[in-house]
Amino acid sequence: METISTSKTIIPAAGYSAYEIDAAEAVRLELRAVSGCDVFFRILRCPKLEIESVTEEGVKASVLFYNSSGETLNTEEVHNVKKDASLTIAYGECNGADTFRTVRVNLQESGANALLSSASLVNEKKEYRIDVANLAPHTNGEIRNFAVVLEKGRLMIDAIGRIVKGAYRSESHQTSRALSFAEGQRSEILPELLIDENDVQASHAMSIGRVDEDQLYYMMSRGLSVQQCTSLISTGYLMPITKVIENEELRNMLAEEMERKIAELCSM
């Protein structure tokens, strides 16, 4: 695995590649996907991360950002998707530190697709602003956020789907769900659809709720502690994010790591 500690331009090789970001200062990455690729970024330390990516015409790219940082992470990301290209980004946030993330996706040319998903186990502050813009006809944008909010967690998600005038036959969809275990937690999800074109399809779904008491009682009646129930339910809730990863090795690694991390955070 290559370690990144200063700003650089990356053109991922076809297939699977992995990078570690370990930087004491701000880092700016330029990412150009020119052939089908699965890219894994593990963030170990990076106070500020700027990313600008381009997924070139016809290319299918998937990128996973897995945050393992023990310190606050600030990101500012712009992802541009060209004609008939398809970009999948997954954010895994099961670390115990604050994250402030601003993401803009530009579906620049017709046939561009983007799927952004996040799975967060929130025991600190996590604030995301995810803005997907359909700038051309026949483009397709989707946002999926799943979060489990633990006792000390604070979650804010601003999810924006934007279809400009002239981007006909485009689609913008989003789903954001937050699950909490204790009373008095604050989660905010703001779903927004800003649509300036008639011939489009768009949807948003949102839910914030506590774990059902009857479910908890049922599981406890078989001997599981509250922490074990929290861990099992959270795992079930967040694990689907691993399905967006096509590469099997990467998918299994991520699943194992998330399971471990969830068990660890839930037993705190």
Partner: protein, 278 residues
């Protein structure tokens, strides 16, 4: 000798008193049937023993194996050997049966159950209960039919091997064949381990299979009479009316009905009593 001892138990549900002083002793290896009309406290008694937080014990004691159950959280009661096969098992999306069962088995062992042992055990139980083979990988009760949920309760019972099993209308929703499968599983575990059983059922056929030695009739939150199998037989043929007369009592649903609707015909008493509970 693990004994369940209940003394003068009073239980409220949403500030309404459902149990009004129940005394009951269940020793190791004994099978007890709880009978009585619907809405008179049978399920409430089982839920209070298990520790359902919606049921508030206002007075009385519950002891099991020398432990004060009322001071123990639900999961510790389970580890102490108590199992409740629920009338309405919950669906837990995202959590597979096998992850759930392994976790539940591990909490009652010193070291985690080896994977191979676990797979063997779950395969045997699935075939005992004639469940579909993919059960282990499915999410807990999600999308299960009523009958599958009930059988899955017995799968859990077989794997967790409780010393006291409480079965709350486990037979409802099961067809004749499935009742036989479930009855056999309960009898097998009872014979092998000396597990005590408290069973709530309205079906004579099921009670005939399990053959409880003791019968208790719960009316309006009290055990009004207890006896042997002959009591269950008499209720099966004659119903409860003779008990109401002999002990000069009124069942809870009807008492409620009398208070609220003095002269109505064609109202479903059960539905009305359920309304009061919801």
């Amino acid at each position: 000798m693990k004994t369940l001892e209940i003394k003068n138990l009073h239980v409220n549900v949403e500030d309404k008193e459902i149990l009004k002083g129940v005394d009951l002793t269940v020793r190791e290896n004994e099978i007890h049937a709880l009978m009585g009309p619907n809405g008179n406290g049978k399920s409430t008694l089982l839920a209070a023993i298990m520790g359902n937080p919606k049921f508030e014990v206002t007075e009385g004691e519950i002891w099991y194996d020398g432990k004060n159950l009322l001071e123990m959280p639900v999961n510790e009661r389970s580890i102490a050997g108590i199992f409740l096969a629920m009338q309405y098992p919950q669906e837990i999306p995202g959590v597979t049966n096998s992850d759930f069962l392994r976790a539940a088995m591990n909490v009652r062992r010193e070291s985690p159950v080896p994977l191979f042992t676990f797979i063997k055990a779950i395969e045997k139980t699935i075939s005992d209960l004639q469940m579909k083979e993919d059960l282990a990988h499915r999410f807990l009760n999600e999308g299960f039919s009523g009958g599958e949920k009930k059988r899955n309760e017995i799968v859990q019972m077989e794997l967790l091997k409780p010393s006291l099993a409480m079965l709350d209308e486990i037979d409802s929703g099961l067809d004749v064949d499935a009742i036989k499968i479930v009855g056999d599983a309960i009898n097998r575990l009872h014979e092998e381990t000396g597990m005590s059983v408290i069973i709530v059922s309205h079906y004579e056929r099921f009670l005939e299979m399990i053959r409880p030695q003791f019968t208790h009739v719960l009316v309006d939150g009290r055990i009004v009479c207890s006896g042997g199998p002959e009591l269950a037989n008499r209720i099966d043929t004659e119903g409860y009316d003779w008990i109401y007369k002999e002990y000069n009592i009124t069942p809870a649903a009807e008492a409620d009905e009398l208070n609220r609707r003095p002269a109505s015909i064609g109202v479903c008493a059960v539905r009305e009593s359920v309304k009061g509970l919801e």
